[in-house]
């Protein structure tokens, strides 16, 4: 019993726990959530990268060559590798959440989640192929 404690009759003090600043580190599912949210930073990074590339393109072949040079540095490779992992994580979590946000009903029955998520993955493969075809071969 603490000496300093005072109780007012009929007005018990409620105990409120402050949520720790590191709440997201305490539980695996929360940590996963934070990782998902942080993937947005890498999305933004990607946009910045694209903007640099485009800017270099508009400046002529030398600038474009320079930026390609930079892209070959180990730092850039590492950064892009990590970014790729995060954006993949974004893609997967995003697809898997669509059935939650957009349930589809056919004949009064709710389609199982995977049936709604699956077309996303198919479309993803197709779109990726098209993009690659344009960039590489187009």
């Amino acid at each position: 019993m603490k000496e300093t404690h005072n109780y007012t009759l009929y007005h018990p003090k409620w105990y409120r726990e402050r949520v720790s600043t590191y709440w997201w580190a305490r539980q695996w599912s929360y940590f996963r959530f934070i990782l998902r949210e942080l993937s947005s930073i890498f999305v933004a990074y990607f946009v910045v990268l694209i903007l640099f590339l485009l800017h270099a393109l508009s400046q002529g072949p030398e600038s474009y060559a320079a930026i390609q040079e930079w892209l070959r540095t180990p730092f850039a490779i590492t950064l892009n590798f990590i970014s790729l992992l995060f954006t993949l994580f974004h893609t997967i979590t995003w697809f898997n959440l669509t059935p939650r946000a957009m349930p589809v009903r056919i004949g009064g029955k709710r389609l199982p989640d995977w049936m709604i998520a699956a077309p996303n993955y198919v479309a993803w493969v197709v779109i990726s192929a098209i993009v690659a075809w344009f960039v590489i071969g187009g």
């Binding site: 009759l9 009929y10 007005h11 018990p12």
Partner: protein
């Protein structure tokens, strides 16, 4: 002490209480209504009701048939004027709930769907899958939020009715959160505190069903009616007492003994058919089914388990689809609590205390013998259920008589004077009693749990499915001894904040009173009728006992019984025939 004042006060926020509160507000929106409940309203035990609620809505059905089923199901102990009013108002009340949003199960064309139920000759039980009570309670609760005239006192435990000048004028209640004691005054009080299954050791009833309202009324000098009639439901899960709804049988489930034999055919309940037949076999009334179980047990044809003998409820032949759409909760409960899948395995079941036919004696408008005091729901006995309630009549009863109580109390409150100041002094006395007897008591020796368990064992032994004069007399004696020991009960928790030991001890006191009324009423009824089976008087005796028992509390704490003739209007007593 806090004092507040309202026009109409409800004790209890279950189905009956909420329906009554809304009825008061609709009758006279100016009236200030208070709902006092020891748990948040949506925790009330109405939430557990599974199977459904009966009301005539289909064209092949009629009010007379519903009335007849009810009267014969109750072994002619029901007051027939009450039954007629009940069946007549039932459809309208159920429709009202539909309009408030209750998710009733539907037919493909969008009309209300109905299912058969035990003891009913026609399919007339409305259902919301197998969570009917849950949906009804939440619909009522959510709808009640709309009415600004309704003030709620959530988690307030009522300890006493304030009576002065021959009328009730409010209650004393403990606010659990703070321990503060309140005098909540009102011109009219409606008791809706539900049943008292916890008096027994093995029950489907929740922890909060301790007969509080019955004891409150009894202590205030109001008679309790037909307390000897306690319903055993034939199919509870062993150990937990969790109910497997009658709907499991009405959808076509079989009851099988140790040898896989549909034993009900041996007990005058018809011949087995593959499909369910109304008022026959598994769809017989609950009293007869529970009694058949005991007979099977005596013949050694039940299955022994660590939690007592059981029989099997077999629904496997219904198939996965029906089970998942019509009985999903049954499956959920079996998987979760019994670790079996009823699609593949048989469900072990045994009779379990379920419902109280008796209760606070009221008239057709839910008025009790005490001016200003009304009662509705399981706590009350208007007497539609007689000696045995038919499944699915109770939920409807909450609505019909909840609404009637609300209207009557509203009318009464509109032309009645404010509560006087005398009752405040009474409330102070009650506060001092609570302090002295419980909160500041440090010298007790008896454990709450022990007294409670002994009480439960006593009443089970004396007033179980089959009773005898000797065992009842012994039980009465035991209960008196327990009452004495209770004076010496030990209280370890002296805190004002959320003191659940205090509520447990108050509930135990209520239960001891209620147990006594059950045993005394049963002792005096020397006949067998419905749920009251005396092996020493195995016959029904209409000559002497076509009458309700009314039990009163004497000044010295002892009880006395009176009898009131049953009201017969159109259906003279006859033999109860099932399976034909």
């Amino acid at each position: 002490m806090d004092i507040s004042s309202h026009d109409v006060l409800l004790v209890g926020g279950g189905g009956a209480g909420l329906r009554a509160a809304i009825a008061v507000s609709e009758t006279n929106p100016k009236l200030k209504v208070a709902v006092v409940s020891k748990v948040y309203p949506m925790r009330s035990h109405t939430v557990s009701a599974e199977g459904g609620a009966a009301a005539v809505i289909k064209s092949n059905d009629s009010l007379d048939e519903h009335a007849y089923d009810t009267v014969s199901g109750g072994d002619w102990m029901s007051d027939q004027d009450a039954v007629e009013a009940f069946v007549k108002e039932a459809p309208e009340e159920m429709l009202r709930l539909e309009h408030w949003g209750c998710p009733w199960s539907r037919e493909p064309d969008g009309h209300i769907a109905v299912r058969p139920f035990g003891g009913m000759k026609k399919e007339r039980t409305w259902f919301a899958a197998d969570k009917t009570g849950f949906h009804m309670l939440h619909t009522l609760f959510q709808t009640s939020l709309k009415y600004n005239a309704i003030t709620r006192y959530d988690e307030f435990f009522v300890t006493k009715l304030l009576v002065d000048g021959g009328r009730v004028q409010g209650v004393v209640a403990i606010e659990l959160m703070s321990g503060k004691i309140h005098a909540i005054l009102a011109k009219a009080v409606i008791l809706c505190t539900g049943g008292c299954g916890r008096v027994f050791p093995f029950t489907t009833n929740a922890n909060i069903k301790n007969g509080d309202g019955m004891a409150l009324a009894y202590r205030a000098g109001v008679p309790l009616k037909d307390m000897e009639f306690v319903q055993y439901h034939p199919t509870g899960l062993p150990f937990t007492g969790i109910l497997i709804t009658e709907a499991a049988r009405s959808e076509g489930g079989y009851l099988l003994n140790k040898d896989g034999y549909r034993y009900l055919q041996d007990y005058n309940l018809g011949t087995p058919q593959p499909k369910p037949v109304l008022r026959s076999m598994e769809l017989g009334p609950r009293d007869r089914l529970s009694q058949a179980f005991v007979k099977e047990m005596e013949k050694g044809r039940t299955i022994d388990t660590p939690y007592g003998p059981v029989v099997h409820l077999d629904i496997r032949h219904l198939g996965e689809k029906i089970i998942n759409t019509k009985l999903p909760f049954v499956r959920e409960l079996c998987l979760k609590y019994q670790n079996i899948d009823p699609i593949k395995e048989m469900i072990p079941v045994r009779p379990v205390v379920h419902y109280m036919m008796g209760g606070v004696h009221t008239d057709l408008n839910a008025a009790t013998a005490l001016t200003g005091l009304y009662a509705a729901g399981e706590v009350a006995c208007v007497s539609i259920n007689g000696a045995n309630r038919l499944g699915s009549n109770s939920l409807t009863e909450l609505l019909v008589f909840g609404a009637r109580a609300g209207k009557a109390a509203a009318a009464f409150a509109s032309e009645t004077a404010e509560p006087g100041s005398h009752v405040v002094a009474q409330a102070m006395d009650e506060q001092r009693r609570l302090e002295r007897q419980f909160l500041s008591k440090t010298d007790g020796r008896e454990s709450i749990a022990t007294i409670r368990e002994e009480m439960q064992a006593t009443i089970e032994k004396g007033a179980g499915i089959y009773r005898t004069g000797d065992l009842l007399a012994q039980a009465a004696q035991n209960l008196r001894r327990l009452q004495e020991r209770f004076q010496n009960v030990a209280i370890t928790d002296h805190s004002y904040t959320f003191n659940t030991e205090l509520t447990a001890v108050l509930e135990l006191a209520f239960m001891l009173d209620v147990a006594e009324t059950i045993v005394q009423s049963a002792l005096q009824r020397s006949e067998s009728r419905g749920a009251h089976q005396r092996t020493d008087f195995p016959k029904r005796d209409d000559e002497k006992y076509l009458a309700h028992s009314l039990i009163y509390r004497n000044e010295d704490g002892s009880s006395r019984l009176e009898y009131l003739p049953v009201t017969i209007t159109r259906w003279p007593p006859a033999e109860r025939v099932y399976g034909k």
